[in-house]
């Protein structure tokens, strides 16, 4: 990596572990070699954990298959775990993601990030419960936790026996957590349509109308969010917790850039995203996929890989690009996220102030807001009805110049990226497409956008 510039902040040299090898085998160095080389170079005694300085490192004790990146060679299991949990806790407390009066819903896909976030939220709840029982006045309530799994088998068909097995696994993961019991909601993605309207059919037709393979995948993502929002709202949750980690956010940064979404990008990658009815929070934003996989391996956290959706098109190209970069420099993903983090956030990227007098004083005192002081942000009023990203100036211009039918309204309301990769080009197909969209999407432009665009100008 060229870091000739004095302003380089990618911390290319911070990770001493990797310097030894990357120079000689730039492309095909696998972490496992790193640890082997280290032991052979430094003799019989590998250095102990850098934090506690006593225990042996994870890779010295015995490393998992291929999943012992930088941290495995640095930390012992306990220090690694508490370090990772610390990152999670810091993002939760410093952004007021979870407060005692909350009822949070964890979006669970079955992957390792989901497993870790569920485990961590559970640990946090468990500690809160212990404090609650120990305290005399019991003034701090314990927040509630629920789990939602969006069943996408209507979109990505799976054999029924495999499907049943996966569902069984998910149930056992959630129900085997120690009490308090967490309700599990298994929601078919077709629930975004009213139950009597043949959701599976409509969804199939809707997706068939999208020609671009990347566009189709992105549309499914947006619909998944819709389904999560719906279940959270119906079951009385007030926060939605996602397992997005540094690695997945880095991929999102690059793919948004490639899709021309440089304006709206910063809205998606903050710790908090309150543009939705139920605010979305990303407590694992500072943890990489390697770390999460390592923790799953260490603690024997079960994952359900089967129902993970495959990536295709541009998204898959981007993720293999980012993986390649990460192999070349283990801090690359966090550099990407940190760089993109310097873009201006939006006004909705924070938990709204709560001026609720009913809330007990003890709870109010608990809310820390060091990262909540008024920062500069962009305020945006208009959102793409499909992907809910804020519209940039040129997109707003086309919005104001419009008058026409409902379906062509959709065409002007959308961001340019959705216009290109999701909406049908043919105006006659457009009408059909409009009717196939779930009502929640279609009603968004009507209520928020189009009503007052004329007032604005």
């Amino acid at each position: 990596m060229a870091c000739n510039s004095s302003t380089c902040q990618s911390s290319c040299f911070r990770n001493e572990d990797n310097i030894n090898n990357v120079g000689e085998h730039p492309r095909d160095t696998v972490p496992i070699e790193t640890s082997k080389n280290r032991t052979s170079v430094e003799g019989e005694q590998p250095s102990p954990c850098v934090k506690c300085k006593t225990n042996r490192t994870i890779s010295a004790v015995g490393s998992p298959s291929g999943e012992n990146g930088g941290d495995a060679g640095k930390f012992c299991g306990d220090c690694f775990r508490s370090n990772l949990y610390g990152k999670f806790r810091l993002s939760v407390t410093s952004h007021a993601m979870i407060i005692p009066s909350d009822n949070v819903l964890v979006a669970f896909s079955g992957g390792s990030a989901s497993s870790v976030v569920l485990q961590f939220v559970h640990e946090m709840q468990h500690r809160a419960q212990k404090n609650f029982e120990a305290s005399r006045d019991r003034s701090l309530p314990v927040f509630g936790v629920g789990v939602a799994f969006i069943d996408e088998s209507a979109v990505y068909p799976v054999a029924s026996n495999k499907y049943d097995k996966s569902i069984q696994q998910i149930k056992s993961i959630v129900y085997n957590l120690p009490p308090p019991l967490k309700p599990l909601h298994i929601v078919p993605i077709t629930d975004i349509y009213p139950s009597d309207s043949g959701g599976k059919d409509r969804l199939g037709k809707l997706l068939d109308a999208v020609n671009d393979i990347t566009g189709k995948e992105d549309l499914i993502l947006h619909l998944r969010m819709l389904a999560l929002q719906k279940v959270a709202s119906e079951k009385g949750y007030n926060k939605l917790i996602l397992g997005s980690c540094t690695s997945s956010i880095a991929c999102h940064v690059i793919s948004s850039i490639v899709k021309g979404q440089g304006y709206s990008l910063s809205a998606d990658i903050q710790y908090v995203d309150a543009r939705w009815e139920i605010p979305v929070v990303l407590p694992l934003r500072d943890c990489t996929a390697q770390e999460l996989n390592l923790l799953c391996w260490l603690d024997g956290l079960k994952t359900v890989e089967l129902l993970n959706s495959r990536r295709a098109g541009i998204n898959s190209l981007v993720s293999s690009f980012v993986t390649l970069l990460q192999e070349e420099n283990p801090s690359r993903e966090s550099t990407i996220v940190r760089t993109a983090g310097k873009l201006k956030a939006f006004h909705f990227n924070r938990i709204p102030e709560i001026n609720d007098c009913d809330m007990p004083l003890a709870t109010q005192r608990r809310i820390k807001r060091y990262n909540q002081k008024p920062q500069e942000s962009i305020s945006s009023e208009f959102f793409c009805p499909i992907c809910n990203s804020p519209l940039d100036n040129s997109e707003l211009l086309s919005l104001s110049a419009h008058d026409g039918s409902q379906s062509s309204k959709l065409n002007v309301c959308c961001c340019s990226s959705c216009k290109f990769q999701i909406l049908p080009k043919d105006p006659t197909l457009m009408e059909q497409f409009y009717l196939l969209l779930p009502q929640q999407l279609v009603s968004r432009p009507k209520s928020s956008n189009h009503g007052n665009i004329s007032l604005l100008r």
Binding site: A2, C3, T7, C8, I19, G23, V258, L265, L343
Partner: protein, 357 residues
């Protein structure tokens, strides 16, 4: 008669140009994937560049403009198209060719011959500035001293200043370079990957350095590299296509490869990257390097001395590692430098400038 013409393409299996609907389509336009004929390609290619020039008000009538000419495809096409458009649309510009002689035997001497032929072919006066004259060192001498690692750093830093000095000698108002949209998209990605927020904020602007002595602009900001190659090929332009002997692109960088893959999948992705870059809103609380002037030579610099002076000082004192990499000192540089350069080439495609100007 019309019937005959309509039938003919079907019979021979060739398509008509989708713009003029008259001539046979000769190529698939990389930017839009339209099948068009050669004449229409020339027209849309030139017209797009004309629109970019007019819409962005790149030039004012009566200005003296230097074209950074390396003899490569980008700068040759730029020189040709600019002199055409200047004539056709009466821009009223005085155009010059400006070349930098890095002193690379077997590479630059040959490419300069191409530029000298272009001088005659397009009737544009040529000015050559050499590293030897400006700095007292040729690249050959520098490489002999420091080897093949980091040599592109020297060349790049020196070239930037050499172009500005040459432009000052020609007393031009602006300098145009042949950076195309692929180059700029690559720069956007690289700045994200390496966390260079200051460069990220300015790398997509079509004109840079307006506060400096000589502004630079990139008329090819929206022009696809593939189209430039096609244009040069069909017009049989005289250009030099060998790679620099000190920076052979044996493997192109990750970022470049990624962009080529993207283009294959979705041609407009390259333009979308530029659009993203233009739409970035950088938080004002981010620390940006302050611009000042070099205490030694007066060139713009964010540090006490400009990079060229630091590097030159290192060369002249026999300490060529001075000013390379993160460290400014001498003691902790060595070990890291070599590793850095071996990584350099993986992620970036061309730190050296076959196309850069």
């Amino acid at each position: 008669m019309e019937d005959m013409e309509a039938k003919e393409p079907r019979r021979t299996g060739t398509r008509l140009c989708c713009l003029c609907n008259q001539r046979r389509a000769a190529l698939k336009r990389p930017k839009t994937l339209d099948q068009i004929c050669r004449e229409c390609f020339y027209e849309v290619f030139e017209e797009e560049i004309h629109r970019v020039i007019v819409d962005n008000k790149l030039f004012n009538p009566g200005e003296r403009i230097a074209i950074g000419a390396s003899g490569g495809k980008d700068s040759t096409v730029l020189a040709y198209v600019l002199s055409e458009l200047n004539r056709r649309h009466n821009y009223g510009l005085d155009l010059f060719l400006l070349s930098v002689d890095e002193g690379i035997t077997g590479y630059r001497d040959d490419s300069l011959e191409t530029v000298k032929r272009n001088e005659v072919q397009y009737g544009l006066p040529l000015k050559i500035v050499s590293y030897k004259d400006l700095y007292g060192w040729t690249m050959d001498e520098i490489v002999k001293m420091i080897g093949l690692k980091n040599n592109c750093t020297f060349c790049g830093v020196f070239r930037r200043q050499a172009l500005d000095r040459g432009a000052a000698l020609l007393k031009v108002d602006k300098l145009v370079t042949g950076h195309n949209v692929d180059d700029i998209a690559e720069t956007v990605l690289l700045n994200i990957l390496r966390g260079d927020i200051a460069r990220l904020s300015r790398c997509t602007s079509i004109t840079t350095g307006e506060d400096g002595p000589i502004p630079r602009c990139k008329p090819f900001k929206y022009t696809y590299e593939k189209e430039i190659v096609m244009y040069a090929y069909f017009k049989r332009l005289d250009y030099f296509s060998t790679e620099c002997i000190y920076s052979p692109n044996a493997y192109r960088g990750f970022a470049r490869e990624f962009i080529k893959d993207l283009e294959r999948m979705r041609p407009r992705a390259i333009l979308d990257i530029i659009k993203s870059g233009e739409n970035f809103r950088i938080s004002t609380s981010t620390k940006m390097p302050e611009q000042g002037t070099c205490e030694r030579c007066g060139y713009i610099s964010s540090q006490k001395w400009c990079k060229a002076c630091v590097l030159l000082e290192g060369l002249n004192r026999g300490l060529p590692k001075l000013g390379i990499g993160r460290s400014r000192g001498l003691d902790n540089g060595d070990a890291k430098d070599t590793r850095q350069s071996s990584r350099t080439k993986q992620i970036e495609s061309k730190s050296c400038g076959t196309l850069d100007f």
